[in-house]
Symmetry: C2
Subunit: 491 residues, 2 copies
């Protein structure tokens, strides 16, 4: 059975033409009907530019209307959008565009300096496309085949290069439905999005919007004052945040209280410190912890309204269409968290081996460790593969290590995360050098190869790295050599 539904934006424009799809802090808003018309017109111009069914179109942009229009337009052509993280280096972006076989790149004007340096067959600023005439003969799709790809976004991992996670329409659809069955659907819902759309956490809010007929209050980026203002005065009912944002919001809130219309603060991007959750509870902020990753098209395990207060610290239960299993639990019940469900990606683009390794019999091995309590609530105890989550962004030590190892003077390198009051965690690096190297040389090398948010906040020069009997790096021991003899702090 190949499931076919009407194109979700066209459908919502038909059902709720005059309902606000996206609302901005400056008062501008766009209805579903307008969003559909804009996107369809943009699609016809993209077609004139050469985009067609099956094209891979990279988009480099912060949260803005032109980006949203482009994402829907690409879908109307049955092309696939490749969403790029704007904070990546040129080298990282070049890799992704090439790996994703993207022959088109559209970008926000403010990112021109970056975009011009990235090789891609066809490049244009969003507005340039507007100068094209509308392709007269192009027929836009009126339907969606749920098992066809909608988007590709990159994620790193323990080993190897970043991998392009393919999300089908079905993955996004089921994710939206799973969330609806957990949170309910209220006609006055308004979801605040301050997370980047190039991440699945942001993109998924846009999909929910067209599926539910729900308004999104969109911020170009997170800032606590704007978010607090929107919650207080703009009828926001749900907001998605990562830990560092929640911290700042609670600070900003102080002794004040959010209106009761705010019914859910959906917390993703890694486990949150328990005291923060307790503090939120005391301040009557309805935090719903969740667990998810790019491969699961956003949250796949989430606390529900009824459980949020009693189960502080838990990520909740798998969403209705999803299943959860703890693989090879130890004596205390802790094992690898595995998940299954129609929102789970069918795989990585052109990476069959990595796909087969990660997903077996429909079960995705997340690499994260956790356990279930007697009532089946998930507690995440350790994150995948030494993953560092810094301000909601995933940083894989292996990625920084392989970047640094590329420097001719660096012989060995180990990266790990340490806790940080502002970002939750930050990466730190330990290097063994072949010949003398200044900090400045290291950092300017990193600037070329690694996005700044991934760069180690501390850098140590050591004689040797902690290794086990098989000569494998033991990352968990890295922290302990700080301050020891022979460990020289460069940064």
């Amino acid at each position: 059975m190949q499931d076919t539904i009407p194109h979700w934006l066209s459908k919502q424009a038909d059902i709720s033409p005059n309902c606000a799809a996206i609302q901005y802090a400056n008062g501008y808003q766009i209805t579903f009907q307008e969003l559909k018309e804009q996107s369809q017109m943009y699609a016809k111009k993209l077609a004139t530019w050469g985009v067609k069914e099956g094209s891979h179109v990279a988009v480099l942009s912060t949260n803005k209307q032109a980006m949203i229009t482009a994402i829907h337009a690409i879908s109307y052509l049955k092309a696939v959008v490749v969403l790029l993280n704007t904070r990546l280096t040129n080298e990282e972006l070049t890799y992704q565009i090439k790996d994703a076989d993207a022959s088109f790149l559209i970008y926000a004007d403010e990112l021109k300096v970056k975009a011009v340096q990235i090789p891609c067959l066809n490049k244009a600023v969003f507005e340039e496309i507007d100068n094209y005439h509308e392709h007269a003969d192009i027929v836009l799709t009126t339907e969606i085949q749920l098992n066809t790809p909608f988007s590709i976004m990159y994620t790193s991992g323990t080993t190897g290069s970043p991998k392009g996670v393919i999300h089908t329409y079905g993955n996004h659809w089921w994710s939206a439905i799973g969330s609806a069955l957990n949170l309910g659907i209220h006609s006055d819902d308004k979801w605040l999005a301050a997370l980047p759309i190039f991440h699945v956490s942001g993109l998924s809010i846009l999909i929910r919007s067209v599926v539910y007929g729900m308004s999104v209050y969109l911020l170009e980026k997170f800032d606590k004052t704007s978010v607090q203002k929107a919650i207080m005065h703009e009828g926001v009912t749900i907001v998605s945040v990562v830990t560092v944002m929640l911290q700042q919001l609670l600070e900003e809130l102080g002794t004040d209280r959010y209106p009761t219309s705010l019914r859910c603060v959906l917390l993703g991007g890694g486990p949150a410190p328990r005291p923060l959750l307790e503090q939120a509870k005391e301040m009557n902020v309805p935090v719903f912890q969740s667990f998810g990753m790019t491969e699961t098209a956003s949250q796949i395990v989430t606390l529900s309204a009824g459980d949020a207060l009693q189960k502080v610290g838990s990520a909740g239960k798998p969403l209705f269409p999803a299943q959860l299993m703890i693989k090879d639990p130890d004596h205390s019940g802790v094992g690898e968290i595995c998940v299954k469900g129609p929102m789970v990606t069918s795989g990585y683009y052109k990476k069959r081996e990595a796909t087969n390794k990660a997903i077996q019999g429909g079960w995705l091995a997340t690499g994260d460790l956790g356990y279930l309590d007697d009532e089946g609530f998930l507690y995440v105890v350790e994150r995948r593969h030494d993953l560092i989550i810094s301000g909601g962004e995933n940083i894989y030590p292996s990625e920084i290590e392989s970047a640094l190892a590329g420097h001719p003077a660096i012989k060995e390198v180990g990266v790990t995360g340490i806790s940080d009051t502002k970002w939750g965690e930050v990466p730190i690096a330990f290097i063994v050098t072949k010949y003398r190297l200044t900090l400045q040389e290291i950092m300017s090398y990193l600037d070329e190869h690694v996005a700044s948010y991934k760069q180690p906040k501390e850098v140590y020069e050591v004689d040797a790295l902690p290794r086990n009997a098989s000569n494998k790096l033991v990352r968990s021991h890295l922290k302990q050599i700080r301050g020891k003899e022979g460990c020289k702090q460069l940064r």
Copy 2:
């Protein structure tokens, strides 16, 4: 992509174990956890009886807990439930059980007299199964494959014998999701079901219950006093009705008003008279007209809350996952209503030809005529194939005609519907006899072959039936010969 989700009842029992799944007028209620446990235990007993994966198990019952438990139990064994209309004659039931290849029949004790006369390999009253031990080795399914069959229920048509509509889990799932995206999901929702579970209108409420985690207030059958009482005092938020029920409810309500917690009166089972809808509007009763049939797993076109008042008389727009098309519209835009979507049946059991005729390229030709207004709202103007809808039950003239034509004394017969203040419509029959026949003979013959609600309320003996040039019966002219010379009223 074969979509797999956890078994819906097990999943809901995990998410909302203590929430009432079903609530009865006598105060008895059963939680999702209890419903799961009962159903699983019953499944293991059914397995001992011999039911296994792929078995077709017929169920003959009015709305009661044992029926619901049995339906879920059958699903836990990956068997398929065949739902029988309790009002059918033995002959009709025998046909359906045989056609559906049902080798098991479970029935309510009160229907014993009927059940013992129906041939089936294995038969048992609900309670008899309880005497079996639980099959120790049976493994109940923990998952649902959406493209596998869940239920079969029969529908008649213009020609030929009744056909078994196969509903997959996916058909029911998508129907439930489509309804949720239209009506929203509120945590305090309680759906009153007074429609029979053996019809898709009743069964679909049970499925929504396990998918949303919503309580159902179940009545064994419709009676206006009980329904009004439940709406007034039991926190019912949604109620499904057919026209005749709505009429009675408005009468019962009189100058009183329903509480505002009642947010939707979902009206199905054929178009309603405009004055009734206007009356409901005046009485602040939130009627949402809808359009659907067994083949669409209940409503597929429904008015939404926002449109209910402005679009009185319209059946609304297709639910989110569905599409609608008017085929071969005439100059006034009226044509055959065709629908498409993942809730539409994949076909009739063992009737490939009928399936291919009804469903082409995913589009189901409903046989009903209708048009769309400029805003895309559906208005149904004429019902399929002279279909008579009497108190929410479908009656096909051809079915009554072929029953009567079986009588040796009857040469020709024509059946049509006339409006009726109580039932909306009732069938009337016109016969040409070979030899003399009393009314009593006709009626006792009908008693054997046709359920009583389908029996003609008026019977006329005529010399000839109105026929067109091709000698085809013109049913629309039947009514006009009443009272004419040579038309003798027997009943």
